[in-house]
Amino acid sequence: MSSATLEINGISRRFGDVVALNKLEIKIEPGELVALLGPSGCGKTTALRIVAGLESTDSGSVLLRGADITKVSANHRNMGMVFQAYSLFPNLNAQENVAFGLQMRKVAKGNRLAKAGELLELVGLNTQSKRFPHQLSGGQQQRVALARALAVEPDVLLLDEPLSALDAQVRANLREEIRRLQLSLGTTTLFVTHDQEEAMSISDRVGVMNHGRLEQIASPDTLYNKPATTFVASFVGLMNRLPGILTNGKVEVLGQNLSALSSDLANGQVKALVRPERINVTQDQSTPNARVITRSFLGASSRIICEMHDGTIVQSLMTSHGSGMLNPGETVKLEIADLEVLIAHE
């Protein structure tokens, strides 16, 4: 399979008054899997469709291996796409569906059916090759769609929320399978999803989009631990918004004086953004600042919901072993385990 560099250079797209994309810039290295993550209407699917050639741009360009393909029609782009909705051709069986792209490329019948058979085996459906789409489950249909997209040895694999119509278990299995295949074939992949767990678990890098703009693109780890903007911080994972007072780059929150990561805010009341796992809850009775409301057992960890004296609700994630004594109603002390915190407007 071929690996190619894909560059999206300053693409903008409007639909009437709505700005779907605003100067979007992404470069995907050969063999890399990049996920575009964002709320509904943020422009991620529009971006993917522009790369596929199914949507036009108002400005900007798409480069594949350095060549401008912005004006190249969809059927000449050599991209494989898996759609959110089931998109198998209902008049063809699984094998013919997979062989369709090869048929369009005039590959001899024997060769294309053999190749389709191989691809179906790769996605674990070689025994279902003669079945028609209506005889396959949702998960099987998306597997066939994946095999069909890969059969043409695409320069770029485009995945448009391919798992969103599936149930949780099938979803989890299939996403691992997508990653396994993508790694083994080394296909450059652009994956659009609104499910952050999905994006974070299988991507090399995740781009978070909001209102048609890319807020941040980074590895899942960086995105989670060092969000560049307050939107990314609150969109990716859970985040507590604790009241604090900013004074010359220092923020006083939960009685601690920490360095503020955002420097462009004026002194005064702010919100400190802190992950639940960075909040320590202790049974310190001398200087309590909160009260336990609930404790939810999640297996290895437990979620503790506390209420501060000013009514602010704080969520903490602790090991279940360490949180056994924290019962509802108990007064506790909350502390932030970081020396620096991201801050946002009140």
Partner: protein, 257 residues
């Protein structure tokens, strides 16, 4: 549950009687030969003896096939285009296609005729265009429902993404998928065209239905026999088309056993 259990078979029975009784009675009547008990093929022999029978049947078939061709050429791509690229205009199309039911035939015939090119106005094939308009409320709905039942846009985009040109996408994907809807719409056009009387008569053309009306003045049993023949022919058409649209083994795309 008990009421539903009785209601369904009774409704079905009533519908069967409603459809078959007039047809059965007409068929029985068409075989009568001078009395209530004597039956023969006289009326059917009389039909075949009419020298204009085959001529007018041929005219109607020709015009009906013309209407089918126009439907295939204009209606099918238009509805497919609405589904693929212009979804927002579907309500407007819904309204427009209802107009032939609302506008009186007299107004429709004069209005539509004057809208046609002059060369067509004095040509019997103008009726083919008129039949397409008259069949539009039914053909549009048959096509619309058929195309709504499948994710036409997604599968077309999938085909394009896999390297299919527009022509190949239509040939290999769209056409086979919407075949049933297209065949249904073509049958509706054909059936309506073969039986259309009012508009044809208003525009002073002679086709099979107008000929049946005129000969019925001479031989009432013969006229009934003609009606039975027309209905039976229409049912045969329906049956043949039904057979054609059924997916058979030989019909499957290549590579499929």
């Amino acid at each position: 549950m008990k009421i539903r259990g009785i209601l369904l078979p009774s409704t079905l029975l009533a519908a069967i009687i409603f459809i078959t009784l007039p047809f059965g009675s007409a068929t029985e009547f068409s075989f009568r030969d001078g009395g209530k008990t004597k039956h023969s093929l006289a009326a059917y022999r009389w039909i075949l003896a009419q020298e204009d029978f085959l001529h007018y049947l041929g005219v109607s078939l020709r015009l009906a096939l013309g209407a089918v061709f126009i439907t295939l050429l204009i209606m099918v791509p238009t509805v497919a285009w609405l589904h693929l690229r212009a979804q927002k205009y579907r309500p407007l199309m819904e309204f427009l296609t209802l107009l032939p039911l609302v506008v009186p035939v007299v107004a429709l015939s004069i209005g539509a005729q004057s809208a046609l090119p002059e060369a067509l106005q004095s040509n019997e094939y103008e009726l083919s265009f008129m039949y397409v308009i008259l069949a539009m409320p039914y053909t549009y709905r048959a096509l619309d429902i058929g195309m709504s039942a499948i994710p036409l846009k997604t599968i077309t985009e999938a085909a394009r993404g896999l390297g299919a040109s527009w022509i190949k996408a239509i040939t290999f994907v769209i056409a086979p998928v919407i075949r049933n809807a297209v065949v249904a719409s073509l049958f509706l056009t054909l059936a309506l065209s073969l039986g259309e009387f009012t508009l044809t008569s208003l525009l002073h053309w002679d086709t099979f239905p107008t000929w049946v009306t005129s000969v019925s003045q001479q031989n009432i049993i013969g006229a009934i026999a003609l009606s039975v023949f027309s209905l039976a022919a229409a049912f045969l058409f329906l049956f043949a088309i039904g057979l054609l649209t059924m997916r058979s083994k030989s019909d499957l795309p290549e590579g499929q056993e």
